[in-house]
């Protein structure tokens, strides 16, 4: 088990390295291949009024004229150890992980991201708990009562859930629950959990439900399909042949194998959302990583986009690592293979 975890850890680190190379390539190599010169790259870092000489000076200062391996080395060092920028009179230190400074606000990207992380974290984790509980429960009941009214109603709603985009369900729920009924916050506000848990939940309840609705629909369908398959396995028949009560057959022998593939998907989904629940955050104007990314892209603020890319990739890799380890805990066959 320990060696298994170590193997997965090494794989995760290697993957992070690959991600950093790919990200570097996208931001610094691809433009060069497309014909942009070092000066063209540097022109994004200076004001509109800068002359050709200033631009060239900046290009040299930022190292765009160096060879690519050297540039990547500096990029990677910035991520791991931080970077120093010579701003003339002083040397400014950008602490690790250094993604650079925003073109617009001149702030370093990482502290900005850290500020927004709790919002995304609260949104994603809260929604995940809701959709896991409801989706799996509904899926199991649907599978056990296949063809019943409950099953057909639940699967009908679930089909709607997976088909309707968040910006539709989100706006609809805002208009009903917030504007018409006044039951929930109208979006745009976020209170830290530590400041006031009640307000925190009040602000987030509608985004949670909207986001969870989409995923719960998906998970209900997956769980139902998985459960139907599992309940036809030979070992379920064995469990019944032993004389176990049906409840125990379902909950002990049926549910666990059904949940393992769902665990994989759950890890991916959660990892993806931690990197920014773009649609939900935009719809409800929540100041999370997703909204930060959208703003950065709209403003062509490359260092921010770079930061979000790497942070999002990190979350996905991390979630996968956790899922792999959990998988081995759940399914004994994984440990040995």
């Amino acid at each position: 088990m320990i060696t298994f975890i170590i193997r997965r850890l090494i794989a995760a680190v290697l993957l992070l390295f690959v991600v950093s190379v790919v990200t570097f390539s996208i931001f610094f190599l691809v433009p060069r291949l497309a014909g942009a010169s070092a000066d063209d790259l540097a022109s994004r870092y200076v004001g509109k009024t800068a002359g050709a000489e200033q631009i060239h000076e900046t290009a040299e200062k930022l190292g765009f004229t160096d060879s690519l391996p050297v540039q990547y080395g500096r990029f990677a060092k910035g991520l791991v150890a931080g970077a120093d920028y010579n701003t003339g009179p002083t040397i400014e230190h950008c602490p690790a992980p250094c993604f650079g400074y925003s073109f617009i606000t001149q702030n370093p990207v990482w502290p900005d991201l850290l500020d927004r992380l709790p919002v995304t974290l609260s949104l994603a984790v809260g929604a995940a708990i809701i959709w896991l509980l409801t989706g799996v429960t509904i899926g199991v009941i649907s599978a056990l009562r296949k063809g019943s009214f409950f099953d057909r109603a639940a699967m009908g709603i679930a089909l709607g859930g997976v088909s309707l985009p968040i910006f539709f369900t989100g706006l609809l729920s805002l208009s009903i629950f917030s504007y018409k009924l006044g039951l929930t916050a109208s979006g745009g506000s976020y209170t830290a959990f530590a400041d006031n848990p009640a307000t925190w939940a009040y602000d987030l309840i509608l985004p949670w439900i909207t986001l969870a609705f989409l995923y719960a629909a998906l998970y209900a369908r997956l769980t139902r399909a998985g459960m139907l398959e599992t309940m036809h396995e030979d070992y379920i028949r064995t469990a019944r042949a032993k004389g176990l009560p049906e409840r125990r057959v379902v909950l002990k022998h049926g549910l666990r194998p059904t949940l393992t593939p769902i665990l994989t998907i759950f890890g991916l989904d959660l990892g993806l959302l931690l990197g920014g629940a773009v649609l939900t955050e935009s719809t409800f104007s929540l100041p999370g990583i997703g909204k930060y990314a959208v703003d950065a892209i709209t403003n062509n603020d490359l260092p921010k986009v770079l930061g979000v890319t790497i942070v999002a990739a990190f979350f996905i890799i991390f979630a996968n690592l956790v899922v792999d380890i959990l998988y081995a805990v759940v399914d004994p066959r994984v440990r040995l293979s």
């Binding site: 030979d234 019944r240 042949a241 032993k242 004389g243 176990l244 666990r256 194998p257 004994p332 040995l336």
Partner: protein, 367 residues
């Protein structure tokens, strides 16, 4: 389960309602297990599948019954009906299954559930898929034992180790914590048998217990079943398509065809004096080592019938070489199991002297 009502509705079933016979039919039989006029149907989109169609047989404690037949002859469906393991939603069962004086088809599902594992147990064809991959072998035996016995986990665990030891698993005390995938195929089937026998059942049903195993392991498993049977004095039903397996184990043999009984008798009757053309076909298609490989195997012509549209009359008549030898009854009248000699029943329209003649002159010499 719908079987309760249907079990009773059999009373109005003309074919079985021969004066007084039905009244007697509801009396508990003297045999330990008695199946009477069992019918199992599955409604499907293509039509009603008559998987078992009027099957009757009996079995006493300490005896082994082999049920033989091609795939789709209703062997496994019969065993699952006895165990009450069919899904009630898409199965229609009628008839009677008496186990130790109780009509299982007339009992509540909850009552049958309590009997499962304790009074009757089952082992399945493929032990890898029949054991739960997420739980250790020991956990699965402990669970089977504790559901029927109010004992602590540690007591159950000792019992599990003891059961594993009895079925011949070396280092049982440490292997009890292994997962099924860490066992070899033969060991896995031994563990499955240990689980089935953990509550000392009176009836053990083995559904193709050696089909998924290496040939070398098959004989060991059969030996084990035989040894354990004499030790536990349980009734055993062994279901197989392999005549070699029944020859090895069974004292009584039931040959099934298209959901009905074709021939029933002692192993001696079936192997030495078989009377049904289908049994002849099975014997002729079995390789014999003592013939030096010289004899050609004779396949049974044709294919097993559709269970949705079973041929009228004798279900075997389209494939029977001798169907012409009687006056067309084969195509119209369903043959009933009748006693050809004491304890030896045959469902065949051929006149007894014709059967004896064909067997003596045509079949026996070629085997």
């Amino acid at each position: 389960m719908s079987s309760h009502g249907e079990g009773r509705s059999r009373l109005s079933d003309g074919s079985a309602a021969e004066a007084g016979a039905t009244v007697a039919g509801l009396q508990p039989p003297s045999s330990f297990l008695e199946v009477r006029d069992l019918r199992v149907r599955f409604p499907t989109v293509d039509g009603l599948v008559k998987a078992v169609d009027g099957l009757s047989f009996r079995l006493d404690r300490g005896r082994t019954l082999g049920i033989v037949g091609e795939s789709g002859s209703g062997k496994s469906v019969t065993s699952l009906s006895i165990m009450g393991l069919h899904e009630s939603a898409n199965t229609r069962i009628s008839g009677e299954v008496w186990l130790d004086g109780e009509d299982l088809l007339g009992s509540t599902p909850e009552h049958v559930r309590r009997l499962r594992g304790k009074k009757m147990a089952m082992i399945f064809q493929d032990p890898l898929s029949a054991m739960h991959p997420y739980y250790t072998v020991g956990d699965q035996i402990i669970e089977a034992y504790r559901i029927h016995n109010d004992v602590s986990r540690s007591v159950a665990r000792r019992h599990a180790v003891e059961m594993l030891r009895r079925v011949g698993i070396p280092q049982a005390a440490s292997r009890v914590d292994d997962y099924p995938h860490q066992f070899s195929g033969g060991m896995r089937q031994r563990a499955m048998i240990a689980m089935a026998l953990s509550c000392d059942p009176d009836l053990l049903i083995a559904d193709e217990p050696t089909t998924a195993l290496d040939v070398t392991v098959q004989a060991q498993i059969l030996d084990l079943i035989r040894d354990l049977q004499s030790e536990f004095n349980s009734a055993v039903i062994i279901i197989t398509h392999d005549l070699g397996v029944v020859a090895e184990l069974a004292e009584d043999i039931l040959v099934m065809y298209a959901g009905r009984g074709a021939e029933y008798g002692s192993a001696e009757d079936i192997f030495r004096r078989p009377q049904h053309p289908y049994t002849w076909g099975l014997l002729s298609s079995m390789p014999r080592l003592d013939m030096g490989g010289a004899a050609r195997l004779v396949p049974i012509l044709g294919t097993p019938p559709s269970l949705i549209q079973v041929p009228p009359g004798c279900p075997f008549h389209p494939r029977c070489r001798y169907a012409k030898l009687n006056d067309g009854a084969s195509e119209t009248v369903v043959p009933q199991m009748t006693e050809a000699e004491p304890g030896h029943l045959v469902a065949c329209h051929l006149p007894p002297h014709v059967r004896h003649q064909v067997w003596d002159t045509e079949i026996a010499p070629s085997l």
